[in-house]
């Protein structure tokens, strides 16, 4: 059985090994999970000022949206540019390049393993949130969970490809992680992490929807929290962005790898 050209055995071995590796860093990962509480801070800010009603969300709706945003963020967070930059500059990329496996797939496996390690911590935080806000408790329907799960994975794929595009710039510059900030700032504002996109003026929203960012948090979070959402167009946009980004990363990688000088190795 092969998935994306990889045998099931390769996928299984990579994932289990990376999971074992991530478990070595479980405390660090718990802290990372805790550090992702920005949506909760935003929730308390918005709810105290009673702003939710202005864009059609009551306190319970807001709470559910931000908890969903937190969960989506936990399973779509990406750090490939930082690892790749370190590996590239220190020469650790060299042995990866000499193996019959695309180096980026190792980072994909590391991310997925990290997500699995985060799961119990994220759930614990979600349960704590419900204890503190019992009125916001809800159980999403199975189709909601399935669609949110699917769209979160697609969101992760978009985020991973976007950052891989920046990571591939490591072949040209020694500090491509600094360029990642150029993505992070619009991500912060346009993804729905700070505020549901419904709060944006319609012309800003129109422009935002032309970027990949709303499909990273806002779209999956709205599905999970049970808000009204255009499922078809949302998934279509996610798939479209993935189909644009895959060849872009491939092209940049193809040219970049020719410039690789195997520094430090």
């Amino acid at each position: 059985m092969r998935i994306f050209g990889l045998s099931f055995k390769v996928i299984k071995t990579l994932l289990t090994t990376q999971y074992a590796y991530m478990l070595e860093y479980r405390i660090e990962i718990a802290l990372w999970a805790l550090s992702g509480v920005l949506p909760f801070i935003m929730f308390s800010l918005w709810s105290q000022n009673d702003v939710g009603n202005t864009f059609g969300l009551n306190d319970i709706g807001l709470a559910r949206y931000f908890l969903s945003a937190f969960l989506v963020r936990q399973f779509s967070v990406v750090w490939v540019v930082f690892s790749f930059e370190e590996d590239s500059l220190s020469g650790r990329l060299s042995p990866y390049l000499l193996q019959p496996l695309h180096p980026l797939l190792r980072y994909v496996a590391a991310h997925l393993a990290e997500q699995a390690t985060r799961l119990p911590f994220a759930l614990a935080i979600a349960i704590t949130f419900f204890i503190l806000n019992p009125s916001s408790f809800w159980i999403p329907s199975l189709p909601q969970v399935f669609l949110a799960y699917l769209s979160t994975h697609l969101a992760f794929s978009i985020a991973f490809l976007l950052q891989s595009l920046v990571a591939a710039l490591c072949f040209w510059t020694e500090k491509s992680s600094a360029l990642e900030r150029l993505i992070f700032v619009p991500y912060l504002f346009l993804s729905g992490l700070l505020v549901p996109l419904a709060a944006f003026p319609s012309n800003v929203l129109k422009v935002a929807m032309l970027t990949p960012f709303p499909y990273l948090i806002n779209f999956p979070a709205k599905i999970l929290s049970g808000m009204t959402v255009d499922i078809f167009n949302g998934f279509l946009a996610q798939i479209l962005w993935i189909s644009i980004l895959i060849p872009s990363v491939n092209i940049l990688w193809k040219f970049g790898v020719k410039r690789y000088t195997a520094m430090g190795a």
Binding site: K12, L14, T17, E24, Y25, R92, L98, Q99, P100, A262
Partner: protein
């Protein structure tokens, strides 16, 4: 320009320059050979190795390894080669080496039984066992290097690129790595290309050496011939039963040291047999020692000169 001013200037006027790390190097290596690359730091040895294994794209020229163009990094080529760098590791730091072995086994498409068999075989050859189940970070440098060799050789590569494989190891660990490589070469017929600053690695493993200086090849041949051309003389130390005068030895060679009964002479290699025979005939000799100048010293001088006579 160093300092704050230099940093500011660097922002607006960044100077770049081209370095020709390897310029004129041509050679052919036959299957099963062990070849040592010699050269001072920055001579271009590692660059050459990186080009041959496909990490660096050469700007000009042709590299052919096992019928493949290395920089294309085709799967079939990658399965034929391996690269071991003494100063870099591919093992996962926080996990036991065994985990890295199974990742590599899966990546190279080895069946489970095949991987186990191969791990056991190489572990026996490397004399390593229970250490393979301890996290890499807890292994000694020598144990780590053995595990690095094991992971790099798991897929049965036919060409081994080894960049300073004994770097930082103690004398015993170096000797074990050397004997393993020699045994591996005999057993599998693999081709080994090796760079090392330890001459003991080169003398123990490499009948053939390629010398690089400032990106140019200036010697390609066997190590003995290189030693001969670097030092056409051998040192002969003689201990006499009875004292003799210095002028009695003038005709045998260049006198290096003399005191009544102990004489040290530099004798031309091509006349060595004849002169030893004459000395034994004409003098009452208690002890006689013939030695080469140390190879490290000769190679050190060679790196400075950058040419062979």
């Amino acid at each position: 320009m160093p300092g704050f001013k230099g940093t500011l200037k660097h922002f607006f006027d960044r100077k770049t320059f081209e370095v020709h790390a390897v310029t004129d190097v041509s050679f052919k290596i036959t299957r099963g050979e062990i070849v040592g690359f010699l050269g001072a730091n920055g001579a271009g040895k590692t660059t050459l190795l990186k080009m041959m294994c496909g990490l660096i794209h050469p700007s000009r020229g042709l590299v052919d390894v096992c019928g493949f163009s290395p920089q294309r990094r085709q799967t079939a080529f990658l399965k034929e080669i391996t690269l071991v760098m003494g100063q870099k590791q591919q093992l996962i730091w926080d996990l036991p080496p065994m985990d890295s072995f199974y990742v590599n086994a899966a990546v190279y498409g080895l069946a489970d039984f095949e991987a186990k068999e191969r791990i056991n075989e190489l572990a026996d050859m490397l004399e390593i066992g229970e250490e393979l189940t301890r996290p890499v970070r807890k292994l000694s440098l020598g144990q780590r290097m053995k595990a690095e060799l094991l992971v790099a050789l798991l897929h049965k590569p036919s060409v081994l690129f080894l960049d300073e494989p004994t770097l930082g190891l103690d004398v015993n660990a170096q000797a074990r790595v050397r004997s393993f490589l020699s045994e591996y070469n005999k057993k599998t017929g693999a081709t080994i290309l090796l760079t090392s600053h330890y001459m003991a690695d080169i003398t123990a493993l490499c009948p053939r050496v390629i010398c690089i200086h400032k990106g140019n090849l200036f010697y390609d041949g066997d190590l003995d011939s290189l030693a001969n051309s670097l030092s056409p003389s051998r040192e002969v130390k003689v201990e006499l039963k009875n004292p003799c005068s210095r002028d009695q030895f003038d005709k045998y060679g260049e006198i290096q040291d003399f005191n009544d009964r102990f004489i040290s002479l530099l004798v031309s290699r091509d006349k060595l047999t004849e002169i030893i025979s004459n000395l034994l005939t004409n003098f009452d000799i208690i002890d006689l020692e013939i030695s080469d100048p140390p190879i490290d010293q000769l190679i050190g001088e060679l790196f400075i000169k950058g040419e062979v006579n």
